[in-house]
């Protein structure tokens, strides 16, 4: 599903994002990527959504080599990878329903289809009863669930979370992890970038540990080791 072969990302002569990274992630896997701040975790996410391009090496997703992906194809790639961030990135002046619908609108989906899909996806994340609330009327956990719903509307094969629980308390963190597990059970590959020890240890799934841009550990059923 996701393959990185000898990927290096050099931002400048004294700033290295990733160094000679080799990773292969199978479809349906739930992989946690752990590492200290500045270790290269976010660089990995940016490379996967083509926000950055590797200096050397090759990246492919679902057999599609995206190393030199043309600018015009990036939107197609991003519709196949759902991304959730620590800072939610919700539109404050749009309701829950509108925030999720927005992702379909930009993809040119017809209005009728948007009306049909959005409530269903919000039901999956448990927000079917808060369609007309605004982000500021929701808790942090609920806001993150809206973001997950927005990431899911395109039915992505991969869901990437960049510190999605970073701003949440323990209870909300648990809720989000449960939702991610549920999504994974439906077959979506999950790549969870985090430095939350409890979350990683509780998942008992594959863990990739990055340090100074290099993979220092890749365990099938790993633990947080930093």
């Amino acid at each position: 599903m996701i393959t990185l072969k000898g990927v290096t990302k050099q931002y400048s002569s004294d700033s290295l994002g990733l160094h000679d990274v080799h990773v292969h992630i199978e479809p349906g896997e739930f992989v946690s990527v752990v590492g200290a701040s500045g270790s290269g975790k976010t660089t990995l996410v940016k490379l996967l959504i083509a926000e950055e391009r590797p200096t050397t090496g090759r990246i492919s997703i679902g057999g599609w080599d995206i190393t030199d992906i043309p600018q015009r194809d990036i939107p197609l790639l991003r519709r196949q990878i759902g991304v959730i961030f620590q800072d939610f990135k919700l539109l404050a002046k749009k309701t829950v329903r509108e925030n999720v619908a927005f992702a379909l609108q930009v993809a040119g989906e017809p209005r009728a289809r948007i009306r049909a899909i959005v409530p269903k996806v919000l039901d999956i994340v448990g927000l079917g009863h808060k369609l007309d609330r605004y982000p500021h009327q929701l808790s942090g956990g609920e806001q993150q669930r809206v973001v997950i719903a927005r990431a899911l509307v395109h039915r992505p094969k991969i869901l990437v979370g960049d510190e999605p629980t970073g701003n949440l308390d323990a209870i909300n963190t648990q809720e989000i992890i449960e939702i991610l597990k549920k999504i994974n059970e439906f077959g979506t590959t999950i790549l969870l970038v985090t430095h939350n020890r409890e979350v990683v240890n509780q998942l008992r799934q594959r863990v990739i540990t990055i340090h100074n841009g290099k993979i220092i550990a890749d365990e099938k059923e790993g633990k947080y080791r930093l």
Binding site: I49, V83, K89, L91, V106, A107, E109, P110, R150
Partner: protein
């Protein structure tokens, strides 16, 4: 495709609404720029009209002695008509000249009394010659300066309007130069304001833009609304300017009619050239707005 286009249009109107004061300012500056262009065009039109009107009034008058015979006058007419520059030769008999003279001085008892005292018609026949252009008149005057005609021609005159035409051209050239400078100034201001309007729009929507990129919006979906915004600015400013010019022409027509003796001269000119006027101005303003928007996006919008 059509759905995305429709959403881009909606988004463009939302942007205009969010930055209403800047949008209004942009449209106002574009209107000022277009008004100065239209002033320039109308001045040029009026100058041409004035020159043509003055030229139309010029003619050479040849005054014959009262003793000049019809044959002699016919010969002069034949000679003058042979010049390719001559467009019209009108001959007035002695009686016609007297009648014109009497009509002209109808209210002058001294002249009427003098004519009655003379008894006989003291005026000779007259010939009025019109040529293609004002500069040809001197040629006709020179051509008549031959001994055989000197005996029967009392006087040859033509009103020297060349100086008046030159003066009109000097004044209008100055006004045109001022209008060109003013137009260029407004174009620069419009460029800067549009650039800033788009820059502010990009800045205020940076979160929305980053989310659009994140969820897979195409370049067109992100950039399209700003181009459509430029198109909306163009349509509104050109339409409002066309209306303003039309009403200004109607307002000025009575004043222009005093000079040219024709009614609705400006309005008719605007109406008969409306497609050309709007088309050219629409194209020019669209180029200006698209160029400044594109530059603002290139500098401030990373897609």
């Amino acid at each position: 495709m059509f759905i995305s286009f429709g959403r881009s249009i909606t988004s463009a109107f939302q942007d205009i609404g969010r930055n209403l004061s800047l949008s209004v300012m942009t449209i106002l500056i574009l209107i000022l720029m277009l008004l100065s262009v239209n002033t320039l065009l109308l001045i040029r039109f009026l100058t041409n009209q004035a020159t043509r009107s003055i030229t139309d009034q010029i003619d050479v008058s040849i005054y014959f002695t009262p003793t000049a015979t019809d044959e002699q006058i016919a010969e002069v007419k034949k000679y003058i008509s042979a010049f390719p520059e001559v467009t019209e030769v009108i001959r007035y008999s002695r009686a016609e000249v007297l009648a014109q003279f009497q009509t002209q001085y109808e209210g002058n008892p001294a002249i009427t009394a003098s004519l009655q005292e003379l008894g006989d018609n003291p005026l000779g026949p007259t010939m009025v010659v019109k040529t293609r252009s004002a500069k040809d008149y001197q040629k006709i005057i020179t051509a008549l300066a031959v001994p055989e005609y000197e005996k029967i021609v009392v006087a040859k005159t033509f009103t020297d309007t060349a100086k008046a035409i030159d003066r009109i051209h000097i004044i209008t050239t100055q006004v045109e130069r001022f209008s060109v400078v003013l137009t260029a100034l407004f174009a620069i201001i419009a460029f800067l304001i549009i650039f800033n309007t788009i820059r502010v729009a990009i800045y205020t929507q940076r979160t929305e833009i980053s989310i659009k990129k994140l969820v897979g919006a195409t370049n067109w979906f992100i950039r399209g609304p700003y181009f459509i915004e430029s198109l909306i600015f163009t349509i509104i400013s050109v339409s409002l300017t066309a209306l303003l010019v039309f009403f200004a022409a109607r307002f000025l027509d009575p004043y222009v009619a005093v000079v040219f003796g024709q009614s609705a001269i400006l309005t008719n000119h605007v109406i008969s050239n409306i497609v050309w006027l709007i088309g050219i101005q629409f194209g020019a303003v669209l180029l200006l707005t698209i160029f400044s928007s594109a530059l603002a996006m290139r500098r401030h919008l990373r897609v």
